[in-house]
């Protein structure tokens, strides 16, 4: 224990004397948080629309107006030419073309239904899907309104019971989105990005720190002393544990002040989960340091591992959308579980009971990874 005290003091002295590293460890996460949170968004903004209205009736103009009024679409250009519309789509001037065929209103009043054509730039498949859902909604709402405002044709009137006025719809559907009233992407991304910060400090920076000592030769010097493996590992990991938690604290502060992220659950729970998570993250960092010979290698390996973890963690894309086998692999990722916990606690206000399962997973992974990495670390080369 006493030896550990000496080693820890040495570590902290070194860390605080390395100005660049210090700045990196404190400032970089903040910058990362600020930039990443703003950049990492799939929010679908106002879509530029090209309108080809070949009917020019009250009904058709009403549809266009409704689209604009929704705030989701803006009319960039309009003409009777589909060719021009197509060119605009090709050259990225617009992302959606709305074509209202001739006799639109007449079909509606005579036959009770009429088609419209919508062409979407689906290069961004996800965005197109969302736009599609908006378009459908707007069109359906317009049809509902027209049902009451357009005078029904005699034919349709004959089908109805004259005693019963035609009702606009028979099911009153109300929808509510929970946890994210304003549909802000920040609320979805920032908790996950906080996990990213903590992970980078724990794996990359810790790994590079150990490898640097290897490169210089001081690690070898320590291996010759009576310092035990456990003491050495503890002295290397504990400082970064603390730094990672401090970074998390700073990150949470920024999240609150700058991005107004809700913190509906207990922050204590968040830190508790972080402490458990760091077992695994630091374990991975330690493991990297045993197989990398140079700092460059350490950086590359940790970058590769982090990237795989991140992409599979549900940070950017939902885990639900992955194929089943990929979801199974994601289950083995401590990052995934920590992100689940972060979102559950911060955004949905979950309590300890609700996050039992991922917490246990974290504890288990942490123990396993750390044990494996410690085993790998040997003072004597075989």
């Amino acid at each position: 224990m006493r030896t550990l005290r000496f080693l820890l003091r040495k570590e902290f002295l070194q860390i605080f004397r390395d100005r660049t590293m210090l700045r990196l460890m404190i400032a970089a996460p903040v910058i990362q948080l600020l930039v990443l949170s703003n950049a990492a968004s799939f929010e679908v903004r106002e879509a530029s629309t090209y309108v080809v209205d070949l009917d020019n009736s009250t009904a058709s103009r009403g549809l266009v107006q409704r689209m604009v009024a929704s705030g989701r679409f803006e009319v960039a250009d309009a003409s009777p030419s589909m060719e021009l519309a197509d060119q605009a789509l090709l050259s990225r001037d617009v992302s959606i073309v709305l074509r209202i065929p001739p006799d639109f209103e007449r079909h509606l009043t005579r036959a009770g239904e009429a088609p419209v054509q919508v062409v979407l730039d689906a290069e961004d498949g996800a965005g197109a899907a969302v736009l599609q859902s908006y378009v459908r909604r707007i069109i359906a709402d317009h049809a509902r309104e027209l049902t009451t405002t357009l005078r029904p044709d005699r034919r349709t009137a004959a089908l109805t019971d004259p005693a019963t006025p035609p009702t606009a719809s028979t099911i009153d559907v109300r929808t509510r989105g929970w946890y994210n009233d304003e549909l802000r992407y920040y609320d979805y991304m920032v908790p996950g990005i906080l996990v990213l910060l903590v992970t980078i400090v724990a794996t990359s920076i810790a790994a590079m720190n150990v490898v640097r000592e290897k490169e210089i030769g001081t690690l070898e010097q320590l291996n010759v002393t009576p310092v035990t493996r456990a003491q050495l590992i503890a002295s290397k990991l504990l400082p970064f544990w603390i730094i990672a938690l401090v970074d998390l604290g700073i990150g949470l502060l920024v999240a609150r002040l700058v991005f107004d992220i809700p913190m509906r659950g207990s922050l204590l729970l968040v830190f508790f989960a972080a402490v458990l998570y760091l077992f695994a993250a630091l374990g991975i960092g330690l493991w990297i340091s045993t197989i990398a010979e140079t700092q460059q290698q350490a950086m590359f390996i940790s970058f590769a591992i982090n990237m795989v973890y991140l992409l599979m963690s549900g940070l950017f894309t939902p885990i639900q959308s992955m194929p089943v086998w990929a979801q199974a692999i994601a289950e083995l990722s401590p990052v995934k579980h920590f992100i689940v916990i972060m979102r559950a606690v911060l955004v949905r206000g979950a309590d300890l009971a609700a996050i039992q399962a991922p917490l246990i997973a974290l504890a288990a992974y942490g123990a396993i990874v750390l044990m494996m990495a410690a085993r790998q670390y040997s003072k004597t080369t075989r």
């Binding site: 006493r2 030896t3 000496f6 040495k10 070194q14 210089i216 030769g217 010097q221 009576p226 003072k379």
Partner: protein, 256 residues
């Protein structure tokens, strides 16, 4: 401690098909200054790394300070000091902090640490530099400091791996005076070097060529045996492909 300070029997280390150290055997008595000479790549560093527990031998055995280096490694570590080729001081710590760290790691009490630190700084005449970062010290000073730090816990055996590389002759001289002082105090010193003139400073010497001990003995014995006036000449003769006759003359009297 009874028995030799260092005992090596048929120590071997292979890396794949390459044999770096080939069944070497020798002994070093307590308080001796023992030189391990050889060209770069002859196997000296590999041998010393096995003795201090950084590398596992492929075969053979060794005992340091009375304990087996493989099965009783931790006990060995408590009783030895080591100074590597790169001096292995923490450049971003001060002189005092480096001493303090290693003294603490070896289990010295706070009082002992204070006392040793003062003594060390006095001997090195670095008292005014105690709060200076090691990075800013000139090479010769760092080297002397590294040696002192290796000795801070008063080990029984100290291993020095090429400690005088890149340093001017005067500093080298001073360094060797420090080694003598330590030996006079009862510490056994094993030094590896590729400077053949340093062999003259040792009590006994082993010359390694291609992983084997090609010759050993006191500097006088070697010079006499090879009809040479300097160890350098001895080494040159050994390093050249020799005729069978010459080989026989170079026996290995390091066994006692």
């Amino acid at each position: 401690m009874s028995g030799p300070a260092i005992e090596v029997r048929e120590l071997t280390r292979r890396f794949g098909s390459f044999t770096a150290v080939d069944a070497i055997s020798f002994e070093v008595g307590a308080g001796e200054v023992f030189g391990f000479l050889g060209a770069n790549g002859a196997g000296k560093t590999t041998a010393i790394r096995m003795l201090i527990g950084l590398l596992a031998p492929t075969s053979g055995a060794a005992r340091v300070a009375g304990f087996d280096v493989t099965s009783e490694a931790e006990r060995v570590r408590q009783r030895i000091g080591y100074m590597s080729q790169r001096f292995s001081l923490y450049e971003d710590l001060t002189v005092r902090e480096n001493i303090w760290l290693y003294a603490g790691i070896y289990g010295l009490s706070d009082d002992q640490i204070q006392e040793r630190t003062d003594r060390l700084l006095e001997q090195l005449q670095m008292h005014g530099y105690r709060d200076v970062l090691v990075r800013t010290l000139p090479l010769g000073w760092r080297q002397k400091l590294a040696f002192s730090v290796a000795m801070v816990h008063e080990p029984e055996v100290v291993f020095l791996d090429e400690p005088t590389g890149g340093v001017d002759p005067i500093t080298r001289r001073q360094f060797w005076e420090m080694i003598y002082e330590a030996a006079a105090g009862g510490t056994t010193i094993l030094v590896t070097t590729h400077y053949m003139d340093e062999a003259e400073y040792c009590d006994r010497v082993s010359i390694m060529v291609d992983g084997r001990i090609a010759a050993g003995g006191t500097p006088e014995e070697l010079k006499h045996g090879f009809g040479a006036t300097s160890i350098d000449e001895v080494f040159v003769q050994l390093a050249r492909p020799t005729r069978a006759g010459d080989r026989e003359a170079a026996t290995d009297p390091s066994d006692r």
